[in-house]
């Protein structure tokens, strides 16, 4: 048995020591561990996040460690997931937060509710959820207590992806990372989407200006008949089904634009402002 434990330990521990260290029920007075610590890899995350594992996998999930903590009738499930990188961890956080509620400043961003808290820091995505206590309990202070201690121990970036800051702020509703198929188009592999009161903006990062140019060329094929947009290195605008009034531009290795506005001209006007905010 000891041999097996050692082998299992060797297989699992490297790279997750950070997560192990932050799983301590005693971070908040009065809370005690209950049950054994859990750990999951993509192979069997299904066992824990039954029916929801795919939602983690698309953000480059590599492993999760978790523990249950108990105080009186309340139990907290604390889970630390290691995602592909910091951008993906932020993407996971943004996809799972309620965009109508404020973002708190823990790590790259946090959402604090009365019985759950989630935040992302570096490549880690942390969830703390009350699981079986009184549904009217307000555990905000406890959740923040755990998160505060954990955040200090987790290594990594504390700022959201820089690209999100390029989106225009007026009438911004929410902004998130899209891990694949931006705007539902496979050729836009991954990037960011910002929702506005009217329409949405997007950014796609390619490896090089040449590869961005190739994507732009495919976009022109897909949206044939578009008019020139007159923005950045190259651009086009049109009115399309589903994406409505849209404008797409390329600036260096970035593709960006606006969709779902009244027409291509309106989209181009907004897209020009977005292009100006993208560094050369």
């Amino acid at each position: 048995m000891r041999w097996a434990c050692l082998v299992a330990g060797l297989l699992i521990v490297p790279g997750v020591a950070g997560a192990q260290d932050v799983l301590d029920c005693h971070f908040v007075s009065g809370w005690e561990p209950t049950g054994t610590k859990r750990q999951y890899t993509p192979d069997h995350l299904y066992d824990y996040k039954d029916g929801g594992a795919e939602g983690y996998l698309v953000y480059g999930f590599t492993r999760m460690q978790g523990v249950d903590c108990k105080a009186g009738a309340a139990t907290l499930a604390i889970d630390v997931s290691e995602m592909g990188d910091a951008d993906l961890a932020y993407g996971m956080f943004a996809a799972n937060r309620d965009p109508s509620l404020p973002v708190a400043k823990i790590g790259m961003g946090a959402q604090v509710l009365s019985q759950s808290l989630s935040f992302a820091k570096g490549k880690y995505f942390v969830e703390i959820v009350e699981t079986d206590g009184n549904p009217t309990n307000n555990l905000t202070a406890v959740l923040e207590g755990f998160a505060g201690r954990m955040e200090k121990l987790l290594e990594g970036r504390t700022t959201p992806p820089a690209e999100l800051d390029w989106f225009l702020k007026d009438d911004l509703v929410s902004a998130r990372m899209v891990p694949e198929s931006v705007l539902g188009l496979r050729i836009l592999k991954h990037g960011y989407v910002a929702k506005y009161a009217q329409g949405q903006a997007f950014l796609v990062i390619e490896d090089s200006p040449a590869s961005a140019q190739a994507v732009m060329s495919k976009m022109r094929e897909k949206f044939e008949g578009a008019a020139p947009g007159g923005i950045a290195d190259e651009s086009f605008q049109l009115k399309a089904p589903y994406l409505e009034g849209m404008c797409v531009f390329r600036k260096g290795r970035y593709l960006g634009g606006y969709t779902n506005l009244v027409d291509g001209t309106a989209a181009a006007a907004q897209a020009a402002k977005l292009a100006d905010r993208i560094p050369k």
Binding site: A4, P42, D50, G52, G184, K195, Q198, G225, L238
Partner: protein, 398 residues
């Protein structure tokens, strides 16, 4: 958590939604049917390339619901426009769940489909473990989906009979009486295990089960048994799950996509008469177009080859249950049983089931370590790397 009433009012007001674009899209789609008409500039986004969409419909058991055999799993859909377009093209079964993206997924589906509510079948699920929590979840789902009812409401991920309590069934009855759901369902990753309970209780109108080409005859039998009771059967994880778990960095990734393996896998499921519909996850328009072809293209010898090749790839891992290895292990281990159990975890993602089955084996299975043998006496005629696989089972379950 906000009270439901305020949430409903908030949603009704049409203020902050994560999918404002989708809402506006939908409004336009409703008011201007011209969007659905061919246009020289936009035709490429309207139909699967080169052909009109041919819809294949089946009846979902005794529910009488007539649904397209290719439905849409919305869990990881990246943009609501994909959902709206699927509905425009005639897909009429859409699946989400309370837990997907902490409610954001239901909200997106509601915004994307709101104007088409009468023409589509919407299913959602709750993982809650008691009546009160279930009914609370349902009210939240209705608010997020912006509808007064869901067509099918599943108890989410029930893999053991004891996962389903009587008060959960009662919650589904109450919801039916209140007109909040039309039909009750259960989703499971372990149908054979739930079979007897499901057949006896007759509590569900619909069962949502994992089903794909990599599964053995036992699953076929289980599905046939359920279907014969009049229970509608919906298949999930029809791409064998493995296609998604194969990462872009994996050498097989590009080939799986290039060869159309995902379409072949979907067609394989659709040739099974007991399956009423499927809910493959779709993240983009290309995937939607590809999957829709499964309704018009027959499963062919080429598909057979593609899937056989994929099975060939997993041959070193995949036990055919020929039992020729029985009695050949010098330590007396039941090799075929252990490999079959390991397949539950590695092949089907059913780790809990696998661990449980492993623990049912004689105690020596948890004590012996294959690595301790200088040489393995078991030779698999199909090339399964027995020693490696047994060691993995011991690592995972012992």
């Amino acid at each position: 958590m906000k009270p439901n009433t305020s949430r409903r009012a908030f949603l009704s007001a049409g203020l902050i939604l994560p999918v404002v674009g989708a809402t506006s899209r939908l409004g336009l789609a409703n008011s201007t049917m011209g969007l659905l008409q061919p246009s020289d500039a936009t035709d490429k986004l309207q139909k699967p390339a080169g052909s009109a969409v041919k819809l294949d419909m089946r009846i979902l058991g005794n529910t009488g619901l007539k649904i397209t055999t290719v439905g849409m799993g919305c869990m990881i859909t990246s943009d609501p426009s994909v959902i709206t377009r699927a509905a425009d093209l005639g897909v009429n079964y859409f699946d989400t769940a309370r837990g997907y993206q902490h409610g954001n997924n239901e909200r997106m589906v509601g915004a994307a489909l709101g104007g088409k509510r009468q023409q589509i079948v919407v299913s959602t699920k709750s993982p809650a473990g008691d009546k009160a929590s279930l009914l609370k979840d349902l009210d939240t789902s209705l608010a997020e989906l912006k509808t007064d009812y869901v067509d099918i409401w599943y108890l989410h991920s029930k893999d053991k009979p004891e996962d389903i309590r009587d008060d959960m069934i009662e919650a589904q009855h109450i919801a039916k009486q209140q007109g909040k759901i039309r039909f009750a369902g259960m989703s499971t990753h372990a149908l054979p295990k739930q079979l007897e309970w499901t057949a006896q209780k007759k509590a569900f109108d619909v069962v949502l089960t994992v089903y794909n080409f990599s599964m053995d005859a036992a699953m076929d039998e289980a599905i046939a048994t359920v279907a014969k009771t009049g229970t509608g059967v919906v298949a999930m994880k029809v791409m064998a799950g493995g296609f998604r778990s194969v990462k872009p960095s994996d050498p097989t990734y590009e080939r799986l996509h290039r060869d159309g393996a995902m379409l072949s896998a979907l067609k394989w499921v659709l040739k099974k008469p007991h399956i009423a519909t499927t809910i493959p996850s779709m993240t983009d328009m290309d995937q939607l177009d590809e999957n829709l072809r499964a309704m018009s293209e027959a499963y062919s010898a080429r598909d057979e080859k593609i899937l056989a090749a994929h099975l060939e790839q997993i041959k070193p891992l995949y036990c055919r249950m020929c039992n020729q290895c029985e009695g050949t292990c010098q330590k007396g281990l039941h090799v075929a049983d252990t490999l079959r159990i390991l397949t539950y975890a590695d092949g089907y993602g059913q780790f809990a089931l696998a661990r449980e089955r492993f623990q049912e084996l004689p105690a020596r299975h948890a004590e012996v370590r294959c690595g301790d043998c200088a040489e393995c006496t078991v030779q698999c005629p199909f090339g399964v790397r027995v020693s490696d696989r047994m060691a993995r089972a011991q690592e995972l379950f012992a």
